[in-house]
C-alpha cells in the first residue's frame, strides 16, 4: 500500500498548460479506469479544477506511480509527456496527506482562504466513490481531509477577510449598511470592474440599480442585465439622492462628482449615508466628498490597502491552519500505522518463514546423514533464530501502531525487508 499524488497547479504550470490538463468528469473517469486496469495502482481519485489537476493514488508498488501516471495523464489531456514532465509535482506517503490537507484548507489556492476548493474536493471524491475507484485508504483519507477543511474554516478566520478589490468594496459597504437588502446602487460608467462589484452587491441583496454611462446604449445594456434603470449621464446629480451606494469607473479625465453636488444630494436624502466606490484612474470623485457628513469615499488605493491588510490577516490565520494540518496529518498517520502494523507483522513473519523453509530445505537436502531427531533439532534452531530476530521488531511494531508517527516504523520495516513488492495487491476487490 503506497500513497502518492501527482499534479500540476498554478504554481507549477502556466495557465495554457493548466487549461489543457483540466479534465472533465468523463476524462477523469477514463483516466481512473486506465490506471486501475493497466498498472499496479489499486485506488484513484482524480481532482481537477481550473487551477489544479491532481491524481491521488494508492499503488501496490512504489516505483509504479510516477511514470505511469504521467503517461496516462498526458494521454488523457492530449499533451506531450515531456511538456507535462517539467511542470508536475509528485508526493509520496505522508507528504501526500499533507499536500491534500493543504489543498482542502485552501492554503495551496491561488487566493488563500477561498471557499470553493472544499466543495471541489468533495465533488471529486464523491464522483470517484461512485465509480468505485476508491477503497479503504483513499476513502479514509478524503473523508478525513474534508473534515480537516471544515475544521480549518471554523477554527481559523482564513476565509473571513476578503482580498479581492470588489469583495473588499462590498465588505466595507456592509460596515455602513448592515443589511443591503432593498438598497439602491448607482453605477457610473459601465466598465467590467463596476459590473463585477455590482454583481457582488446584487448577491448581497441590493435590488435597485441606476446605471449611467456616457454612451447611453451601454448603460441600457448593463441596466437590463441588473434589472435596473438607465440614467442620462448629464442628469446623474438629479438621481444621486436616491443612491445608497455609488460605484464609479468612467474614463473621464476630470471629476464626475464634486463635493458640492454630494452635499446637496445629502441634504435631499436627509443625511442617509452614501458609500462611494471610485475604481477609476484618474479618479472620478472629488476626494473632498469623504469629508461630507455621512458620505464615505473609497478609491482604488484605499481598497487595495484594505485588501493588503486583509491578506496579512489571512497570513496570520494560515499559520494557525498549518498547525491544525500538522496535527491532522499525524493523526491520519497513526491510523495508517494501526492499519498497517498487523498485516506488516504478518507479512514479515510470512517472509521469514518462507526464507526459513527455503533455506532449511536447501540445507537438509545437502546433508542427508542427519537422523530425524537431529533434523527436528535443526528446524527448531532455525525457528528459534527467526523468532528471536523478529521478536523485537514485532513488539516495536505493535507498540508503534498506537504511537504518534508510528507509521514511519511500519514504512521503514516494509522498505528494509522489501515487503512492499509482496503486499496484497488485491485490495481493490473489497
Amino acid at each position: 500500500m503506497h500513497l502518492a499524488v501527482l499534479g500540476i497547479n498554478h504554481k507549477s504550470a502556466p495557465v495554457e498548460l493548466r487549461e489543457k490538463v483540466s479534465l472533465d468528469h468523463e476524462r477523469c473517469g477514463q483516466l481512473s479506469e486506465h490506471l486501475l486496469d493497466e498498472t499496479a495502482i489499486t485506488e484513484v481519485v482524480p481532482l481537477s479544477t481550473c487551477n489544479r489537476t491532481e491524481i491521488y493514488v494508492v499503488s501496490s508498488r512504489p516505483e509504479v506511480g510516477r511514470r505511469e501516471i504521467v503517461v496516462s495523464l498526458a494521454r488523457a489531456a492530449r499533451v506531450g509527456q515531456s511538456d507535462l514532465e517539467d511542470c508536475i509535482y509528485f508526493h509520496e506517503g505522508a507528504e501526500t496527506v499533507d499536500h491534500l490537507y493543504r489543498v482542502v484548507a485552501s492554503l495551496d489556492s491561488m487566493v488563500m482562504g477561498e471557499a470553493q476548493i472544499l466543495g471541489q474536493v468533495k465533488e471529486a471524491y464523491r464522483t470517484a466513490h461512485r465509480q468505485q475507484t476508491t477503497s479503504v485508504l483513499l476513502n479514509r483519507l478524503f473523508r478525513h481531509a474534508l473534515e480537516v477543511g471544515k475544521r480549518v474554516r471554523t477554527d481559523t478566520r482564513i476565509g473571513e477577510n476578503p482580498v479581492s478589490v470588489s469583495s473588499v468594496a462590498v465588505d466595507m459597504v456592509k460596515k455602513v449598511y448592515d443589511d443591503l437588502e432593498g438598497r439602491t446602487a448607482m453605477l457610473l460608467g459601465a466598465g467590467t470592474m463596476s459590473e463585477l462589484t455590482a454583481t457582488h452587491l446584487a448577491s448581497h441583496g441590493v435590488s435597485r440599480f441606476l446605471v449611467s454611462n456616457r454612451t447611453l446604449g451601454r448603460a441600457e445594456e448593463l441596466a437590463e442585465k441588473f434589472d435596473g434603470e438607465p440614467v442620462p449621464f448629464d442628469d446623474l446629480v438629479t438621481y444621486l439622492p436616491r443612491a445608497d451606494i455609488v460605484i464609479s469607473s468612467t474614463g473621464a479625465p476630470h471629476y464626475v462628482l464634486r463635493r458640492g453636488e454630494v452635499e446637496r444630494a445629502m441634504r435631499q436624502r436627509h443625511n442617509k449615508p452614501i458609500f462611494f466606490i471610485d475604481i477609476a484612474v484618474p479618479r472620478d470623485i472629488d476626494p473632498g466628498v469623504n469629508s461630507v457628513y455621512n458620505a464615505f469615499l473609497y478609491d482604488i488605493d484605499d481598497l487595495n490597502e484594505v485588501a493588503a491588510a486583509n491578506a496579512a490577516e489571512r497570513g496570520k490565520e494560515a499559520r494557525k491552519a498549518e498547525k491544525i494540518i500538522r496535527e491532522e496529518v499525524d493523526s491520519f498517520g497513526e491510523w495508517v500505522a494501526g492499519l498497517d502494523a498487523i498485516p506488516t507483522i504478518a507479512a514479515l513473519r510470512e517472509q521469514a518463514e518462507t526464507i526459513k523453509e527455503e533455506e532449511l530445505g536447501k540445507a537438509l537436502r545437502k546433508i542427508d546423514s542427519l537422523s530425524e531427531k537431529e533434523v527436528n533439532r535443526v528446524e527448531t534452531m532455525a525457528s528459534a533464530i527467526v523468532n528471536k530476530i523478529l521478536h523485537s521488531p514485532t513488539v516495536e511494531l505493535k507498540k508503534a501502531a498506537n504511537e504518534r508517527g508510528g507509521y514511519m516504523y511500519v514504512e521503514s520495516i516494509r522498505r528494509l525487508f522489501g515487503l512492499n513488492g509482496t503486499g496484497k495487491g488485491g485490495r481493490r476487490k473489497d
Binding site: N161, D178, P273, E305
Partner: protein, 353 residues
Amino acid sequence: MDPLIKLEEILFIVAVVSYLVSSFLYIWYLITRSDRAVKLGTIILVLGLAAHTIALMLRWVSSGHAPMANLYESLSLFGWGIVLFFLIAQHFYPVKVAGSLVVPTAFLITSVAGVFYEGPQPLVPALQSYWLWIHVTIAMLSYGLFALAFGAGFFYIVQEYLLKKQYQNVVAAFVILLAALGIVLGLWAGSVWAEPAKVADELGRIDKIYTGEDTAKILGGAGFGLLIGAILGFVAGKGASRPGFSKRLPSLDVLDEVSYRAIAFGFPLLTIGIITGAIWADQAWGRWWGWDPKETWSFITWLYYGAYLHTRLTMGWRGKHSAILAVIGLVAVMFTYLGVNLLLSGLHSYTPT
C-alpha cells in the same frame, strides 16, 4: 463579625476579581480574536455573577430590605445588572466584542462599589416605602440604557472615523474618552485622598467642606488621571487605527440603531422614574417637586434626552451628531447617579459617615 456579612464580603471580592480577570480576557479577545479567551472569559464572568448574586441576596437578608439603600448597594446592584444583561445578550446575539467595553465597565462600577462599602443597615425613615424598589429599579434601568447608548455612540464615532480613514481622529476619540474617564476617576481618588470634613444634620443629610489644600489634592488627582487616561487612550487609539479594525466593530447602521433605541427606551423609563419619585416625594414630604439636586439633575438629564429625541424625530438628525449627543449625555446621567450623591448635598445623599 456576623458570619453572613463576612461571607457576603468574600463573595463580593470573588465577584470583583472574576470581573477583572474576565475583563482582561475579553480585551484579549478583541485584540487577538482568540475563541479560547472569550470562552474562558464567559465562564469566569458567569462564576463571578453567581458569587455576586449570592452576595446581594445575603445583603438583602441581613439588612431586611432590597439592596438599594446606599451607594455600595446601589452600585453593586448596577454592576450586577450590567453583567446579567450582557450575559443574556451574549447568549442570544453576536455581541462578544462589546464585552471588551461592557465587562470592564461592570468591573469598574463594582469595584467602586467596594470602595463605598458599608455594612448592612436598616433604612432611614424617608426610604421606608415600597416606592423604593420601584423608583430605584426604574431609574437604574434607564441609566443602564443610557450607558448602552453611550457605548454604541462611542463606537459609532470610532467606526465612522475608521471608515473615513481619519485615523488621527480615532486616536483623538480614544484619548478624549479615556482622559475624561481618567479625570473622573482622578477627581474621585483625589477627594478620597483629601478627606474633606463632613457635616451631617440630624436627618442624616451630609454637607462636605473643602479647604484649599483639599481642592489642590482633588485637582492634582484629576490632573494625574487625565495624564494616565490620555496615555492609555493614545495607545488604544493607535492600536485601533488600522484599516482592518473596522471589521471588529458592528456596522454604523447597527450602532446608530442601538444607540437610538436605547435612548428611545431609556427616556420613557427615566420619565417614569421621575414620576414615581415625584409621587413618592408627595407622600413622604407633601410636595411632589422641590428642586432638590437629585431632582434637578434628573430633570436636566430628562431635558437633555428629550432634546436628543426631538433632534432625531423632528429634525432628522442621525449618525455622528446623534452619536456625539449620546456620548455627552452620559455625563449628565453619571452626575445624576453619582455626582449628586458625592459632590452635592441633598435629600438623596444618605451616606451616614
